[in-house]
Symmetry: C2
Subunit: 317 residues, 2 copies
DNA sequence: ACGATTTACGACAATCGTAACGATC
DNA sequence: GATCGTTACGATTGTCGTAAATCGT
């Protein structure tokens, strides 16, 4: 009748794997029967039925199981933090850091920070995971990534620390009519076929809202995760793109032109995303600092403790 | 190479027991050698030396040990919450509830709430622990009490939910000169020998401050934890008492008189004290509600989540 | 019939407690 | 010399993995 960490980890993994006992067993490098027993023991020990079963299939968590799982998850995460903390105390310079982010950040804003970080922390294995902002936040929430860097997050179960403000630009082919207007209006932009970020990406919602409230319904012919993809199609003359300003490099993008659009759309906020109350290793803090020098230990600790995300003025990216 | 809950519990208990391995072993109902190994295994597993030792004496935690202990404590507490949650899910009406509070509350403000609670929750074993506000908060922080009810708390590691406002009164013997004054001033009160709460009790600090800022240095001849004790000495004619208004009952205290003092001292705030992020059982919430009907589940959950203790107007007690 | 979970059993590993040891005050 | 923490050893308990059984689709 023990209640130990493996039992709780089993519970969490089974839920994570979509209630597939066998998959969970693989993920934990254990046999299926072992997992079955873990759960049985857990249910016996707690005296609570955790899973809805249909004789030999797990259908879902019971309402009670949901409550138990939430607490179990906290414990498992904390125990992970404990081993990470210990690693950190043993050797601050060695370890693994998984950063989840979007294509735009990975491609345009992170490289310099990563170069600096890797130079100063040669012993740290850096892992980059790409995904939508929602996926990035989820990776952090599930502990699959240590930190995420993305805009437009908005989950309840993660901590978001604002670090930069991002402006929009309009990218066009050379000699595009829009380039002749000094400061284009929303209507000017909406006149052309648009290529921009997919739903859920850096300020796409804010962009849609800006057009909507101006009574405009622009024709979005292509939405992509990837700014490079968007630019390619602009080069092909299929339309004009609304992108984050960081994605445009005058030297590199010779075949394109760029018009500022900060007056058309609200700037979006780029966040560092962390798991609440998690232990953030020394070199993870160093990474954040390398990316956003304004975020020191005090800011991070305040955010982790649940303080409101207060920073009056954010630097432009 | 296991890292299990007993190991972490051992660490916490050893620290709680003042670094006495033997005492900790007793508290855990284990043998001393078992504990020695738990710690050795923990240190080996984490690769971190947790204790400063002088060959065969535990002197203290290493700086790293402090960090590890903090996290371990959270995990241990959460695992306690887990079993409590399970108990709750199994049978919402059975269990144990330990309430830490001061004499004044236990004697004067809680009885009615406790009567109601026990009538509605006959299966719950109610435990009352008395102590100073600081001790009460510490009991909650250490998990020895489920909730505390006290004023003048002020620890960082507990959640305080304001629920009532308490006024002061001056208690005198019959035919005391002070009774002839309509509304006595601080100077009037300070003219007589004072009997009041000990340091650290419901608004004693605020009281001292009120006198001090009025340039008065009253003669406190006796300070007690216990309002009944104070009243006894007032009856004996040794002085007048400044107490919480709830401690005076016209019917019961025939041998005493009472003058309002709300205009002399700031009212003090009575708090419900909880451990942050803890699981609060259904009947614990019921107890809080029985005592302070204004504190429902939403208020409690907000406070647990770390929201600011906002409640504009507190009812008088 | 196949895929999935649950039960049965033998082997291994971990933990505990008692007893003996070493060191300190 | 008494107390406290550490080491050594035998016994108990628990957990794992393989193999067989059961159930549903």
């Amino acid at each position: 009748m023990p209640l130990n960490l493996p039992h709780l980890k089993a519970l969490c993994t089974i839920v994570d794997q979509g209630l597939h006992l066998s998959q969970a067993a693989d993920a934990l490098h254990r046999s299926q029967p072992a997992l079955t027993r873990q759960i049985q023991q857990l249910e016996a020990e707690l005296g609570v039925t955790l899973f809805e079963r249909s004789r030999n299939r797990l259908l879902g968590l019971t309402p009670q199981g949901v409550l138990v799982e939430r607490l179990a998850r906290r414990i498992v995460h904390d125990s992970g933090d404990l081993t990470r903390l210990a690693e950190d105390l043993r050797d601050e310079t060695q370890g693994e850091l998984v950063v989840a982010t979007t294509h735009t950040q990975a491609r345009y804003t992170l490289p310099q920070a990563i170069r600096r970080f890797m130079a100063q922390h040669p012993g740290v294995a850096l892992g980059l995971r790409q995904g939508t902002p929602a996926q990035c936040c989820e990776m952090v929430a599930r502990g699959e990534a240590d930190i995420a860097i993305c805009a437009e997050g908005g989950r309840e179960d993660v901590v978001q620390v604002p670090c930069f403000r991002m402006q929009r630009i309009v990218v066009t082919p050379p000699r595009h009519p829009l380039l002749k207007v000094a400061t284009p209006t929303l209507a000017d932009v909406a006149a052309y076929p648009l290529i921009t970020y997919a739903e859920g990406f850096s300020g796409r919602t804010a962009m849609d809202e800006a057009f909507r409230s101006a009574g405009l319904a622009p024709r979005v012919i292509l939405s992509a995760i990837d700014a490079d993809v968007s630019k390619t199609y602009v080069e092909m003359g299929l339309g004009i793109a609304i992108l984050a300003s960081v994605t445009f490099d005058t030297k590199r993008d010779r075949g394109l032109r760029c018009v500022g659009a900060q007056h058309l759309f609200p700037s979006s906020v780029l966040n560092v995303v962390l798991r609440p109350h998690s232990y953030v290793r020394g070199f993870a803090r160093a990474f954040i600092r390398a990316f956003a020098p304004g975020l020191g230990d005090v800011e991070i600790d305040q955010a982790l403790a649940g303080a409101p995300p207060a920073r009056a003025v954010l630097p432009e990216l």
